[in-house]
């Protein structure tokens, strides 16, 4: 029958079309960053001059983004891992409310959170003009990913048994938490950290509102170059994003997988 025979072909063709749709813009943008002149295409010759220009004008934003993302990971881990413990162990309505509340910054658009932060703290100039302002926004937005991933790991029944065994052997609360629970959920912490890093490094909706000319991140610089520079520079800058951020994420992914395999479940 024609309809039964056609369907797999239809799926394959759709997959091919979607693949082209996803890959073509990436390829176009990478090549445009290396072309002398986008309008002339490859015939115009290739150059590294746009990359160089991006590096001199926007190089600082790359470092700023990586440092902010790393700081966001550290702070969400320091705040989020301890919070995950009572959320995982308590059955009270209060903890359910806390978990619900801290997830709100993900459910609500970043623009709204950024407006709220500016309205509340915008007049505190030292804070408003520092990277700390951007950092605070990133932590609020990414904290739920850390908390919920780690809390889910802590809820596993064998961890409850492990914790009870440690207590039976006389381990105090701090000893149980740092010596037993944290190592046991370490793979979850690492995978949450990867998520937090990825979100922070690409964050724009909040950051565009929170930044100042002296506190620009990579996505903010990108938007600036798209609006005010020639296409080749915007493309070269996008290429810098791909070249710096994607390998970093891949390395972190490999590390996360290695940790998981070492723990082996």
């Amino acid at each position: 029958m024609s309809s039964t025979a056609r369907r797999p072909w239809g799926l394959a063709a759709t997959t091919a079309a979607v693949t082209l749709f996803i890959l073509a813009p990436m390829a176009l943008s990478v090549s445009a960053g290396l072309m002398n002149n986008y309008a002339a295409g490859w015939r115009g010759g290739i150059t590294l001059r746009w990359l160089h220009e991006v590096w001199t004008q926007y190089g600082g934003t790359v470092l700023a983004s990586v440092v902010i993302a790393a700081a966001t990971v550290v702070i969400t881990a320091l705040l989020g891992v301890p919070l995950a413990y009572p959320l995982a162990r308590s059955r009270s309505r209060w903890t359910a409310w806390v978990e619900e509340a801290i997830t709100l910054p993900v459910a609500v658009p970043g623009l709204a959170t950024a407006l709220a932060l500016i309205l509340a703290y915008g007049s505190w100039a030292d804070f408003r003009q520092s990277f700390a302002f951007v950092l605070v926004g990133h932590v609020v937005f990414t904290l739920p990913f850390m908390v919920r991933t780690v809390a889910a790991a802590l809820r596993r029944p064998e961890l409850l048994e492990l914790e009870e065994a440690a207590a039976t052997l006389g381990a105090g609360f701090a000893q149980r938490f740092v010596g037993v629970l944290v190592p046991a959920v370490f793979p979850a912490i690492v995978s949450a950290a990867l998520m937090v890093f990825t979100l922070s490094v690409g964050e724009f909706n909040l950051t565009w509102m929170l930044h100042t000319p002296l506190t620009r991140t990579l996505p903010v610089g990108l938007a600036d170059s798209y609006a005010s520079m020639r296409l080749e520079i915007g493309s070269a800058y996008t290429l810098v994003f791909f070249a710096v951020v994607l390998p970093l994420i891949w390395v972190l992914q490999l590390a996360a997988r290695a940790v998981e395999q070492k723990h082996g479940h």
């Binding site: 799926l11 709100l104 609500v108 709220a116 006389g170």
Partner: protein
């Protein structure tokens, strides 16, 4: 004291849970209260300073209502197209056992880590004033139409950042489906269409619902993509941004933000209530 008896250990954990466990929550809760709850409370109260009707500006002011409806219409259209294409590609790749499919899946979900501004720029390169497609069209003797800045450009760009999420979700769902069920249906002589309707659809319903909510909420709140495209089709986040930065109309910007936030939150909460949903990136 017999601190090593199991009963006392359980009590010790219970005691630890009550006092120390709550101490664990203090830093995060304090941080969240200072940098989200308090600022949002201020945001919620701000429109009242200009009278209660400010909360309903989105309904009473035709300009804002139009912006809301345009955003919602665009988001619904993108969500439907995403589910259709994402399901086709995700199921196709998720069911395949080939290593190439795994690799392709990895490539197709790559854009999840791109900021929205990059995706806007992609469509400027493709279909902007100096874009590839208008150039090719002109070379072929057709009319030059830079569609990046209108509804079509916005639709395609939103589709671009939505598809990877749906493809990933449907591929994961396809792998989780029990093949024995389909096998049984086939051995009983069910047609391909019957299998799709009676075996696949019910099992994919939770994924579809969750995906729809996340994609819809993400489209409603997306700012970077529309900002880069400087679209003629104005969406609500851009309206809010303009009210805040260009007109310094803080109360109105707050009121519109509340409308937008309640809409995306409600969509996600509804999906979670009816389908058990993980977390998306709004």
């Amino acid at each position: 004291m017999p601190a090593f008896a199991p009963a006392s250990a359980a009590r010790r954990i219970a005691r630890g849970r009550r006092s120390l466990a709550w101490a664990c929550a203090v830093p995060a809760v304090a941080f969240f209260a200072a940098f989200w709850l308090l600022p949002v409370a201020r945001l919620l109260a701000l429109p009242a300073e200009q009278g209660w009707q400010t909360y309903f500006a989105v309904l009473t002011e035709p300009r804002y209502l139009r912006s809301l409806l345009q955003t919602a219409g665009l988001s619904v259209a993108v969500t439907l197209a995403t589910l259709l294409l994402g399901a086709a590609v995700g199921l196709h790749l998720g069911r395949s056992r080939m290593a190439a499919s795994r690799l392709l899946l990895g490539v197709l979900t790559l854009p999840l880590s791109f900021p929205g501004v990059i995706i806007g720029f992609f469509f400027i390169l493709l279909a902007g004033r100096q874009g590839l497609i208008p150039n090719l069209a002109e070379a072929a003797g057709l009319e030059r139409w830079p569609f990046a800045y209108g509804l079509l450009g916005l639709f395609l760009a939103y589709l671009y950042f939505s598809l990877p999420r749906a493809i990933g979700a449907y591929a994961a769902a396809a792998r989780a489906i029990d093949p024995a069920l389909e096998e049984a249906a086939r051995s009983l002589g069910a047609s391909r269409w019957r299998i799709a309707r009676d075996v696949w659809m019910p099992q994919l319903a939770p994924t579809t619902l969750a995906c729809a909510a996340i994609v819809f909420a993400t489209c409603m709140g997306a700012f970077g993509t529309a900002f880069t495209l400087a679209s003629k089709w104005e969406v609500l986040p851009i309206t809010i941004y303009n009210e805040f930065t260009n007109y310094a109309n803080f109360a109105l910007a707050a009121s519109l933000s509340i409308t937008l936030g309640v809409t995306t939150w409600a969509a996600l909460a509804a999906a979670r209530r009816f389908g058990g949903l993980g977390m998306g990136q709004a």
